[in-house]
């Protein structure tokens, strides 16, 4: 894609999300969502193969439906309260409608079916934007209407999401689908805590974005999209294999890595509110996620040969992929646990 066009499209994506974040009028929020969605379609279709077009079409249809549901909720709210200000939605119908719309946008169960298929059909860099940047806008709206959301609905969606995210990813070897199911599970964790402490939802979002960006960039280094190609990484980037180990374990939520911070805080919050069975259930299903991350690390890192490639020409080939801020992301994804009090106060 030519650089000027890419600049315009990316800036539309960014300004769409920012419009959602800063507006106090429901109409501009809807406009922001639409701008975001329309601008990201060309990003999803960077390659002109039928798979990418199918993925973009699916994305467009689900997101447009979700925007319309959102508009319906906004209109019902307008009908019942007579104003467009973004406050709580006291009416349960409007609030539930909006929650369902946002769930469709985020890819929560039972509206998760588009996430693996769309993520699989698009290039790695587009998938990166899809799974990280696109979550910011809907979650910000959920943060704002969180006092009036229906806890039962959110908990039901959270339960289904962690289950679907865990079990769905077990049979996958394609990396993009694995990260899609990981996204579904993490979204489940995020909305489970929204009714109790929305700040923890933002904490989970921030740490999840850091880890997923890091994971995608590590995969993009080798342009690997399958577990098989990931297992060839020992040849070209032996150091990156160990970084994949740490990021995968961090995504799985193992202490002492920073992926443990959101899980610990969310379980703490759920326990404080007597949702002990929910907390136990979510913690155990996170182990399903950990299994397929471990499978990736087995293919990549833990089965390394005793000696590396002695190819002499390797130093001549520099890294050509765009891995912005990769060291920073790795450090944030793995070493943030001692700073967790600071993380809580920052958000």
């Amino acid at each position: 894609m030519k650089p000027p066009i890419l600049t315009i499209i990316m800036s539309t994506v960014i300004s769409g999300t920012i419009m959602v974040l800063i507006s106090s009028h429901w109409l501009t929020i809807w406009i922001g969502f639409e701008m975001n969605m329309l601008a990201i379609i060309p990003i999803l279709m960077k390659k002109f193969n039928p798979r990418a077009m199918e993925a973009s079409t699916k994305y467009f249809l689900t997101q447009a439906t979700a925007s319309m549901l959102l508009m319906l909720g906004i209109t019902i709210n307008l009908l019942l309260t007579g104003q467009w200000a973004v406050l709580n939605m006291p009416d349960p119908i409007a609030s539930n409608m909006m929650t369902v719309a946002l769930a469709m946008k985020l890819g929560l169960s039972p509206f998760h079916f588009w996430v693996p298929e769309v993520t699989q059909g698009i290039p790695l860099s587009s998938g990166m934007i899809l799974l990280t940047w696109q979550k910011i806008a809907p979650l910000s709206i959920l943060y704002q209407i969180s006092p009036s959301t229906n806890p039962n609905l959110l908990m039901a969606m959270a339960t289904m999401s962690v289950l679907m995210g865990g079990w769905g990813g077990l049979n996958q070897t394609q990396l993009r689908k694995i990260l899609a199911y990981s996204s579904i599970a993490h979204m489940g964790w995020m909305i489970a805590v929204t009714t109790y402490n929305p700040t923890l939802m933002l904490l989970n979002l921030v740490i999840y974005i850091m880890m997923t960006l890091g994971a995608f960039m590590l995969f993009m280094l080798n342009s690997s999209t399958t577990t098989l190609s990931l297992s060839h990484m020992w040849n070209k980037f032996p150091l990156i294999t160990s970084l994949i180990l740490t990021i995968m374990l961090s995504l799985g939520g193992l202490p002492p890595l920073s992926g443990f911070i959101p899980k610990w805080m969310i379980i703490h919050e759920l326990t404080k509110n007597n949702m002990i069975i929910m907390a136990t259930f979510m913690a155990i299903t996170a182990l399903l996620n950990l299994y397929f991350y471990m499978r990736l690390t087995y293919a990549t890192t833990l089965t390394l040969f005793p000696s590396m490639n002695i190819m002499k020409m390797k130093w001549q080939f520099e890294n050509t992929k765009n891995t912005t801020l990769l060291p920073l992301l790795i450090v944030i994804s793995t070493m943030l646990l001692p700073l967790s009090p600071m993380m809580l106060t920052l958000l």
Partner: protein, 459 residues
């Protein structure tokens, strides 16, 4: 406490910046110096504890375990030199880094004041151990072993996290020094029973309890020598230590809830001892013997009497040193014959007599010969369980007999009898190996002279 933690952390830059010929020397020497610092902590008050800061404290229970951990790192490094000699330099340094990281987490676990910090570091010890087992093990089964190890421990310990957070919400704090005074009695109800289970299952899996022990033979057998040593000597004791700390919160429900686990442990120790008699794999035999000894510790901790706690602490230290020594001996066999089958390298006394002396002493301490601390531990546990219920003396007696049987079976098979014709070109024992065995045995024998040090806070 920082005077142990910072030097241990600094071992990592030491390995990465040392000259290639000096990495083993530097790390072994400095880790032995660090262990000498820990010796000062053995001078504990019997009824009080030594509070270092808000985060760290030691008392008569954790100081011997801390000493065991710090003593074991130089021994692990000495034992790993041979099998890493053919790896590239970066790999060697990575391996040492994993060991040092594990050591760091273990030191902080044994001295943690706050139970959540204990939990986080308890889980954190899983990661370096998993990497050591899965990456540097020798057979293909190591992959399965790593998965079993990780998932058994995690499934047990996630409910523990939730239980700890619940207790923190109720009591206001999880500081070990405070909850021993503030813990309300836990009465008999379904939810309290679930709380008890949630607290204890993590440690039961770690010990391991007989029904949940499936990860242990796999992990011990597939791990390289340093991994086996640290698993057998220290990581199992994490379970015992955690159980002893958390039962403070769980009375008087423990009198009622402990029965199934007592049954499993009492039966399990006989079962695993009997399995040892039929083993062909040497490391597997030592692994099952670990399960059997730890079952005694579980019995002791669940009885909750002063003598049983003393026995449990003594048994943990004694078994740590003994089973680590047995693994080193098995490894010395493995390095020569490249097989763990016992009968392939039999009759070694004629070829390696000094090693046979170490084998004899290790087997004798394993079967709890007086006056070693193994005997002190086992005897206290047997007496305490007799006072808890008279019938257990039969089971304990059978266990002691079978322990003696398999220890002598192991000794006789590997050392006595006619040697096989194909081990004629076995290399003689290295000084490194002999010093390794001596360094294992010396604390055992010295502690037999003064067992008061390891008898724990109840003495």
């Amino acid at each position: 406490m920082l005077k142990i933690i910072i030097p241990t952390m600094m071992l990592i830059p030491l390995t990465w910046l040392s000259k290639p010929s000096m990495i083993w020397i530097n790390t072994t020497a400095y880790s032995m110096l660090i262990s000498l610092i820990g010796l000062t902590y053995l001078n504990q008050f019997t009824d009080n504890n030594l509070n270092f800061s808000l985060l760290f404290f030691t008392d008569s229970l954790s100081a011997p375990l801390l000493m065991l951990t710090t003593w074991l790192l130089p021994l692990m490094l000495m034992a790993s030199q041979y099998h890493l000699s053919k790896e590239t330099l970066t790999r060697k340094k990575l391996y040492i880094t994993m060991l040092v990281l594990l050591q760091l987490f273990l030191i902080m676990t044994f001295t943690a004041t706050e139970l959540i910090m204990f939990y986080i570091l308890f889980e954190a010890t899983l990661m370096p151990t998993l990497i050591i087992i899965t990456r540097w093990g020798n057979q293909t089964e190591r992959l399965n072993a790593g998965l079993y190890f990780l998932f058994y421990t995690l499934v047990g310990s996630l409910p523990l996290l939730i239980a700890l957070l619940w207790v923190q919400n109720n009591l206001g704090t999880l500081n070990l020094l405070v909850i021993q005074y503030w813990a309300p009695p836990l009465l008999d109800s379904w939810s309290n029973a679930l709380l008890w289970l949630a607290c204890m299952m993590a440690f039961m899996v770690k010990m391991p309890l007989y029904g949940l022990h499936l990860w242990l033979p796999k992990a011990h057998v597939e791990a390289p020598i340093a991994g086996s040593m640290v698993l057998a000597a220290v990581l199992l004791k994490l379970g015992g230590y955690g159980m002893m700390r958390i039962t403070v919160l769980l009375n008087p429900l423990t009198n009622f809830m402990a029965y199934p686990f007592m049954m499993l442990s009492l039966w399990g120790m006989i079962m695993t001892s009997s399995i040892c008699l039929r083993q062909t794999d040497l490391k597997s035999l030592i692994a099952y013997s670990s399960v059997s000894h730890m079952a005694l510790v579980i019995v002791a901790v669940l009885i909750q009497s002063p003598w049983s706690y003393m026995g449990a602490t003594a048994l943990m230290i004694a078994h740590g040193l003994t089973s680590s020594m047995l693994f080193c001996l098995a490894n010395s066999n493995y390095e020569r014959v490249h097989s763990r089958t016992m009968i392939l390298a039999r009759g070694l006394q004629t070829l390696l007599p000094l090693m046979a002396a170490w084998w004899l002493l290790a087997s004798l301490t394993n079967l709890a010969l007086p006056p070693t601390i193994n005997l002190v531990g086992e005897l206290f546990v047997v007496m305490a369980s007799f006072s808890w219920s008279n019938i257990t003396i039969i089971l304990m007696g059978i266990n002691i007999t079978i322990t003696a049987l398999y220890s002598l079976y192991m000794l006789i098979t590997t050392q006595r009898g006619k040697y096989t014709h194909h081990i004629k070109n076995v290399k003689p024992s290295f000084t490194r190996e002999n010093s390794l065995m001596a360094l294992h045995l010396l604390p055992l024998l010295l502690l037999s002279l003064n067992p008061k040090v390891i008898l724990g806070p109840i003495y």
